[in-house]
Symmetry: C3
Subunit: 136 residues, 3 copies
């Protein structure tokens, strides 16, 4: 199963919870035991797996990334979005989640976020879910 999620981000830095959309896509797919691979095809955005219950966690993640990668360094890249490129590398653009009994199996507090670092933008997340070979 391969699908592309379309996501409109709303601010320069914006963590958007896409857990439910990915969960629904998996439940519609014919996966019993397998893995859901998530891929962000952008170089100034990424994917974050972390707590999605208390929104202050998302804000704190964005705040510390901004402190680690300040906007005002002497960057060589002339487009002005070097911090976004670096944050994308730090959080990663490729992650996976297990699928068990047809559903995403995550920790109790975990959610999946598209992490926008150079928005607002129209973004995509690519999803490939595969059955374990042992089951085929």
């Amino acid at each position: 199963m391969f699908i592309k999620l379309d996501i409109q981000t709303r601010a320069k830095v914006d963590l958007i919870d896409i857990t439910q959309r990915i969960g629904e896509a998996i439940e519609e797919a014919n996966i019993s035991e397998g893995i859901c691979f998530l891929y962000c095809p952008h170089t100034t955005a990424g994917i974050v797996l972390n707590e999605n219950w208390d929104p202050t966690v998302e804000n704190d993640i964005a705040m510390v990334l901004g402190r680690m990668v300040p906007d005002n360094l002497a960057y060589g890249h002339s487009e002005g979005n070097s911090p976004a490129h670096i944050k994308s590398v730090l959080v990663g653009t490729d992650h996976f989640i297990f699928v068990r009994s047809g559903k995403l199996e995550m920790g109790q507090w975990q959610g999946i976020f598209l992490a926008e670092f150079d928005g607002p933008h129209h973004r995509s997340i690519w999803i490939k879910a595969v059955n374990d070979a042992d089951a085929c």
Copy 2:
């Protein structure tokens, strides 16, 4: 093959070498050529692949993470463990290792650590090892 490892961490920040336990689990499983996927279902812990020969490396990793994500910033999250959430995102909670001829195939100096950032806690690592589809 899907199993859950139980791990008791011993300190607030604690890197525990789980290379041998994962290696033994793989050797007991019926995987010849495949991939071992590791998943940490927690939002204040993660998985680190790095040197496990000299323990000063683990200490230096923890020290620099503490410097990058200090405990005393103006965090919004009221539980006081925002640094642990952010460190979890930085090191990642999902990693994989190749399996060849029935064994984990890693670099000479690489080991696998559960990285605790908000301990001591009882933690789990989920392991799914799958044969390559080509071999099934």
Copy 3:
């Protein structure tokens, strides 16, 4: 399909674009729909997925990593390369890219780099590409 790429790095910190070599390896392999898993078996190097069009981006990534993980901290590890170990953990040593219709499918601006942090060195990248189980 499993192969090892040999890569000679040229400086202490060096991002080497290996997109084309990986793309060629995939096109020679018999993968129609699947995933290309990349693994760096080193503890002082890693793999970066990010923009490979404008080389100032690579330089800015290296610059900020050097600022986040300075060379002159009080490291315990006596080999002097603790910053390289930590940068390896931050960028990651295991990444994947989708394969569709026999080719790597990446975002328009994405490339794949070996990220050297303790060079110059002779390095390897291990590649395992597998067909989706559904297709076997």
